[in-house]
Point group: C2
Chain length 130, copies 2
């Protein structure tokens, strides 16, 4: 998709890798990269490319108008379920066992091929439940 290796690209990818599987808005990303001087436009352009490549999960939060983006850093994240807490926004991985159960069950019973890359399970995490 992209051909040149630029300063902006390098910084952005480093940042996303560091904050992998964290739900962030485009604005938050641009803000975090403020010191590196990367424009919001570029952030959007890269996010859009990454989404096409299936390396970005897009999600909404209840009561929020913004869209949040989550970078899928590692290969193995592609086959694992992600949980996102609707209260604190933090994300956690679930073991592969459950992912496999979901995957095979829905394929067998419904012919539905689950895409772990785009799926996010919502709920409330341990610490937020108190």
């Amino acid at each position: 998709m992209s051909k040149y290796s630029t300063r902006q690209r390098t910084r952005l990818m480093t940042f996303l890798s560091t904050n992998a599987d964290t739900a962030l808005s485009a604005k938050q990303i641009a803000l975090a990269l403020e010191p590196e001087n990367i424009s919001l436009s570029s952030v959007y352009r890269y996010l859009s490319d990454l989404e096409k490549e299936g390396r970005i999960r897009k999600l909404t939060r209840p009561g929020q108008r913004e869209v949040f983006y989550q970078y899928t850093a590692h290969e193995n994240c592609k086959d694992v379920l992600h949980f996102s807490c609707t209260l604190c926004g933090r994300t956690t991985h679930l073991d592969k066992v459950l992912a496999d159960i979901l995957m095979s069950h829905s394929m067998d019973s419904f012919g539905f091929e689950v895409d772990m890359t785009k799926t996010v399970i919502y709920g409330v995490c341990k610490s937020c439940r108190k």
Copy 2:
């Protein structure tokens, strides 16, 4: 949340019930209700109320800037997983068995309380896989 029973409210709820668990944008809803003459503002206001009540699932589609809304018609839909095909947008229910597995496994292993009301599993449905 709402106190009066108005023409708009009745029509909207009927429409949503008829198209339960279908991913629709606010604009699409307003357009479908065009003949009934219901303003976009009212659609948004109701969607927002319903979301607070947990009767609306909000989701995004890859490559789309719009947000889509899914009305949870029946009580039992609250405890069931929903599949949404990223290609055709159609939604299907999954049996309660799988929902229960997901629910209890994530609670036991991670203390994560899944909210079926907000969760959508993405993937490709049988007919779109060909």
